[in-house]
């Protein structure tokens, strides 16, 4: 990594660690979602084990969406975004690095927390590992897709809800293949590798489409 990229990465990571402990809030929200589900569907452990991967994925999706609206907004409000546009660095890369830092600060803690929460859902060790692995591969895609929504709603004062509405349809494929591959590892006859590789491909696609689209949106937003 060249110097500027490292500087940006460190700055974003520092900011998210120092401001409000966004990682902690995300994990708490994740915990809250997972806790609420049994109250809805009943404490049937077999049922919970069956839908466990889905619950964890939906929890992770919601927790990721929750923190995304500040991804560019904070920088826009204090004028930093204007200067970033003029910095002479490729904006797509800037966004990719910001997403990476954001994922490490908010997405990775979710992945780390997932095995623990899987215990509540009566998942066996194999599925626990499978869910965690799919989350590790899939949550970056959620952040990258979410970056598009974040840059589109950057100028809106209350863009958080709209962001979720815009991003969720785009995130459906990630959710489908994330849950499918986790399920495949547990009971279905489908091999684990097939959906898992598609999930990896989706993340790679998101790593291209996300930064390109949100760079375009951010350039227009400076107007």
């Amino acid at each position: 990594m060249t110097g500027w990229a490292m500087a940006l990465f460190q700055r974003d990571l520092r900011l998210s660690v120092r401001i409000g402990g966004s990682a902690l809030v995300g994990v708490l929200f994740f915990l809250a979602v997972v806790t609420v589900i049994p109250f809805g569907v009943g404490p049937d452990l077999n049922l919970l084990a069956r839908i466990g991967p889905a619950i964890l994925w939906i929890g992770a999706l919601l927790a990721t969406l929750l923190g995304l609206d500040r991804l560019f907004q904070a920088d826009r409000e204090d004028g930093t975004l204007d200067l970033m546009l003029m910095a002479g660095r490729p904006l797509e890369l800037v966004i990719l690095i910001k997403c990476l830092a954001h994922w490490i600060a908010t997405g990775l803690p979710l992945v780390v927390a997932a095995p623990l929460l899987a215990i509540f859902l009566n998942l066996d060790p194999v599925s626990m590992g499978a869910v965690t692995l799919t989350l590790l591969v899939g949550t970056p895609a959620l952040t990258l897709i979410g970056a598009i929504g974040a840059s589109l709603t950057v100028s809106l004062r209350r863009g958080g809800l709209l962001l979720a509405v815009l991003v969720i349809p785009l995130a459906i494929p990630v959710l489908i293949f994330g849950v499918s591959s986790a399920d495949a590892a547990i009971h279905d006859p489908v091999p684990f590798v097939t959906p898992f590789l598609i999930l990896c491909a989706l993340t790679l696609i998101a790593a291209v489409v996300g930064p390109v689209a949100s760079a375009a949106a951010l350039r227009f937003s400076a107007d």
Binding site: A7, R11, L15, D78, L85, M86, A87, G88, F220
Partner: protein, 225 residues
């Protein structure tokens, strides 16, 4: 007189914002070592002009180029924008704020411009906020934040400075210091475009007065759609 390599040239700039024409067919050229002071009534488009030069507002028509600058960089990537917002992160220390901008913004050196890369600590000392270097920027006063934002211009050399109301939130002494810094920049071969209400005593000044047009000529077809 210095040999003028660098020249900021704006031709027929036309800007629409929110479906309204802000100004049209504005042209000027500014050569090395001089400052362009943009004056005019409130809301006439001074800030818009600076943001356009900074590449932040898209042009409806016209071109901006920096003659003699780096050919593979856009004009705005060789410019510093010093606007109303300080771009200071309260959660980072003063030094961290400044170091980030030094590392992040690409320096631009071109022939005839001798602006140097100064060390962050030195710059903070010069601007009188050296003692705050390791404090979180949240503790700075408005004037100190302004100075921290200004120090960003000194740690990364770029020939063009775009300054929107640079003296706001500064006291008399700091204002004098700011003028000194601006004059140094001009002396080292830089260019300054600034919008201001107050009289600025700079070495070589050209003025650009923005004036309301005759209402009959305004807002062409396209702007109305």
């Amino acid at each position: 007189m210095r040999s003028s390599h660098l020249k900021l040239i704006a031709e027929n700039l036309t800007i629409d914002r929110g479906g309204r024409r802000v100004f049209q067919d504005l042209s000027f050229s500014l050569s090395q070592g001089s400052a362009l002071v943009v004056t005019g009534a409130n809301g006439i488009g001074k800030s818009s002009l600076l943001r356009t030069l900074a590449g932040l507002v898209s042009l409806a028509a016209g071109t901006i180029r920096l003659e003699g600058g780096e050919t593979d960089r856009l004009p705005q990537e060789q410019a510093h924008y010093f606007g109303h917002q300080d771009a200071v992160k309260p959660a980072l220390s003063v030094l961290e704020n400044l170091r980030f901008w030094q590392n992040f913004a690409a320096a631009s050196v071109c022939e005839g411009f001798t602006g140097a890369t100064l060390s962050p600590l030195l710059v903070l000392d010069t601007l009188g906020i050296g003692h705050t270097a390791h404090l979180p920027a949240a503790y700075l006063s408005a004037g100190q934040k302004r100075r921290l934002s200004l120090s960003r211009l000194l740690v990364t050399p770029r020939p063009v400075w775009l300054m929107d109301e640079p003296t706001s939130a500064l006291d008399k002494a700091s204002e004098q210091q700011l003028l000194g810094i601006m004059n140094d920049h001009l002396a080292s071969g830089g260019l300054i475009v600034t919008a201001t209400h107050t009289e600025l005593v700079l070495d070589r000044i050209e003025t650009l007065h923005l004036q309301a047009a005759d209402p009959a000529e305004q807002a062409p077809e396209e702007a109305l759609l």
